[in-house]
């Protein structure tokens, strides 16, 4: 069936590269440099993806950016098979939420394969994650804690345009399955002057802001909410150190402990649901390995324990924001 052809990709702009453009540029780069790479997902072909992360790529790399049927399970299964036979597939989930349909392939097939057979599965699964106004229960979820739970997966959560680019390149280069959680809220809002030449290695957390009074561990969009809260508190003389985890698995415990050693206080912030998860994991590790460093009980802040509401008024109250982070920090500082 013939469809109307999309236009060609314009030359990359400089000065205001967005998070989604960084992901698009990273995908173009790996397609260009590695013939083993192909992209498979719903509407990723001529249409360019629901968020335009693959815009123009089908035209630029004929036969290597393919529309899939609405079959998340078979898409990941197909990527696993292609990886066994020497390819480096990238799977785009239209929304992170829909990856639950592929959960079996991800956690039982891809994640167990290396341990069982000795053959690693180099696939990258892109998950447009997190909430946006009006997105509701099925287009807003943050599933990094779910995937981090299973052995055999690397879970990345870039919080910056630079990391979206450089971590994506590493995701494709890694021989194991990578769950790449990109935040939809950051897609168009976040901008950087240029794509990075160098980056921290995957597995290392980043000190997004140095401080001495409290450590705030966050990732993805929550890094920016935490930074906003930190700026407000700085006006009052409180210096919060913000640690950007960058990867949910592995967690860079050393960097977190070193920060807590400087500050004596810990708040963990995540957009995911509160039961278990990254926040619980970080608190658990700090208590187990750095109990003597703490001057106050460590706390965590997640979204509420309900499905994610549609209306902006409810959504704003459901997830952690700069304001709720600021309140949480104040409570810990008062201890």
């Amino acid at each position: 069936m013939s469809t109307v052809k999309a236009k060609q990709r314009p030359a990359p702009r400089s000065g205001d590269i967005t998070y989604i453009e960084a992901i698009q540029a990273a995908q173009a780069k790996v397609l260009e440099e590695d013939e083993r790479v192909f992209i498979y997902g719903q509407d990723v072909g001529n249409f360019g993806g629901a968020f335009k992360a693959t815009k123009y790529l089908a035209d630029e790399f004929p036969g290597r950016v393919l529309d899939s049927p609405i079959s998340e399970d078979a898409s990941v299964g197909m990527a696993i098979g292609a990886a066994i036979n020497g390819m480096r597939p990238i799977i785009e989930m239209q929304f992170a939420d829909f990856s639950s349909v592929a959960m079996n392939q991800i956690v039982n097939q891809a994640a167990t394969h290396y341990y069982r057979t000795g053959v690693p599965i180099p696939i990258t699964i892109r998950l447009p994650s997190g909430g946006n106004e009006g997105s509701g229960p099925f287009h807003s979820q943050s599933l990094e804690s779910l995937y981090a739970h299973f052995p055999g997966l690397v879970v990345m959560m870039p919080a910056t345009v630079e990391d979206a680019y450089s971590m994506f390149l590493e995701a494709v280069a890694i021989d194991d399955p990578v769950i790449f959680c990109e935040h939809k809220f950051l897609y168009y809002h976040l901008k950087a002057p240029a794509l990075p030449e160098k980056s921290l290695p995957v597995g290392k957390a980043r000190i997004a802001r140095a401080g001495t009074h409290i450590t705030v561990v966050a990732s993805s969009a929550m890094v920016h909410e935490a930074l906003k809260a930190a700026r407000t508190l700085a006006d009052e003389g409180y210096q919060a150190e913000v640690v950007d985890l960058r990867t949910a698995k592995p967690i860079d415990t050393d960097t977190i402990l070193a920060s807590v050693a400087r500050t004596g206080r810990l708040l963990c912030v995540a957009e995911s649901f509160p039961w278990g998860g990254i926040n619980a994991e970080v608190v658990s590790r700090v208590v187990a390995e750095g109990f003597h460093l703490l001057d106050a009980p460590p706390q965590r802040l997640n979204c509420k324990d309900t499905p994610i509401p549609y209306h902006p008024n409810l959504w704003a109250a459901h997830r952690p924001t700069a304001s709720s982070i600021e309140s949480a920090i104040r409570r810990i500082l008062r201890f």
């Binding site: 049927p69 078979a74 299964g77 098979g81 390819m87 057979t117 052995p151």
Partner: protein, 346 residues
């Protein structure tokens, strides 16, 4: 991995109808006698977990795999009851015994057991227990061939009647059809999925009718008759290989055992066991060999004796091999070691 441990390739390919049939019979016999041996080892407490046999579907299983050539790049996704097909595809007899007995010399090194074994790099996938999930993996291996410009290659995926009810099965079939992949899906309808009969599993008249819905070719064969299985798979695999797209082959037979050796299959009615679908494909094949005068009674007895001795030797060797040691195991779930999270030390 030493050459001796990988999938055995390059054995003489049988060409005439007689050679094909005899070869098929010998794979069936090897599988049956091996699984009989594994069953007795299980009953003697030498195998932990379970033993799942393909009794009654060896003809259907072997006939498919005999059409495949790992040397040419064909890929094969066997399932629970495909010991015969695994052997015909080229799996070393030792792989099966080592996996069941947990030898570290085997392909799974004690990390997975029984039927969940494979050598993916040699074209044979290691099934997971979630039915239907392996078909899209075969699709992916075929897609890789397409990207790499390899042609004339076929992928085969095995499934049972119960597995056709999963979403995974449907997604993978539709995907293969959309991509027009050279996939052969072999559905062994042995009338029971564990204990659930066909009429609680699906409502269509015959599973092969589903091929129409996917827009692919459907074939049907009598799973109790090796000659029928051979001719059906020969045609289906040839069509897939020549670019005619996915082929669905449905075989009818009765599972002549319980689901696993822990289950005696008490729920299978006697009327089915004595009906034509309940016939044993090995009995039928040996009668056929005698009728066509391709073998004598003495030859059949000699083949059986020789096969039993071969299995006994292999079991004896594997029994002396080391078992895995939890204290010396490499507990890494990733090949990228520096990204593995260490087990917290207490």
């Amino acid at each position: 991995m030493s050459a001796a441990n990988t999938i055995q390739m390059g054995s003489t390919t049988p060409t005439t109808e007689e050679e094909q049939f005899i070869s098929g019979y010998q794979w069936m016999l090897l599988a049956r006698l091996l699984e009989d041996k594994l069953t007795s080892l299980y009953r003697a407490g030498k195998i932990v977990g379970g033993v799942y046999v393909g009794k009654g579907q060896e003809a259907f299983s072997a006939a498919l795999a005999m059409q495949l050539s790992p040397k040419q790049g064909d890929v094969y996704g066997p399932l629970i009851r495909d010991q015969a097909g695994r052997l015909a595809f080229g799996e070393n007899l030792m792989d099966s015994i080592r996996t069941y007995l947990g030898s570290v010399e085997g392909p799974m090194r004690g990390r997975d057991g029984n039927i969940h074994r494979g050598r993916p790099r040699d074209g044979m996938t290691a099934m997971i227990s979630h039915l239907g999930a392996g078909i899209s993996v075969i699709n992916g291996m075929l897609m890789a061939n397409r990207f790499q410009g390899k042609t004339g290659v076929v992928g085969a995926a095995c499934i049972g009647d119960g597995g056709t009810s999963t979403g995974s099965f449907h997604e993978a079939m539709n995907q293969a059809a959309v991509e027009k992949l050279p996939l052969v899906v072999a559905i062994a309808n042995n009338l029971f999925a564990y204990s659930t009969p066909n009429d609680r599993q699906f409502a269509c008249k015959d599973l092969v009718d589903r091929a129409i819905g996917y827009g692919i070719a459907g074939h049907h064969c009598d799973g109790t008759r090796l000659e029928d299985c051979l001719s059906t798979f020969e045609e289906a695999v040839a069509k897939a290989r020549s670019g005619e797209g996915p082929q669905m082959v449905v075989g009818h037979m009765l599972r002549l055992s319980g689901h696993g050796q822990h289950d005696d299959g008490w729920y299978v009615p006697e009327s089915l066991k004595v009906s034509s679908v309940g016939q044993d494909c090995i009995d039928n094949a040996s009668k056929y060999l005698l009728k066509r005068e391709w073998a004598t009674e003495d030859e059949l007895a000699a083949w059986e004796k020789k096969t039993r001795a071969r299995i006994d030797r292999a079991v004896s060797k594997v029994s002396k091999e080391p078992k895995p040691d939890g204290a010396r195991e490499n507990w890494y779930a990733l090949s990228t070691k520096h990204l593995c999270e260490g087990t917290p030390e207490v």
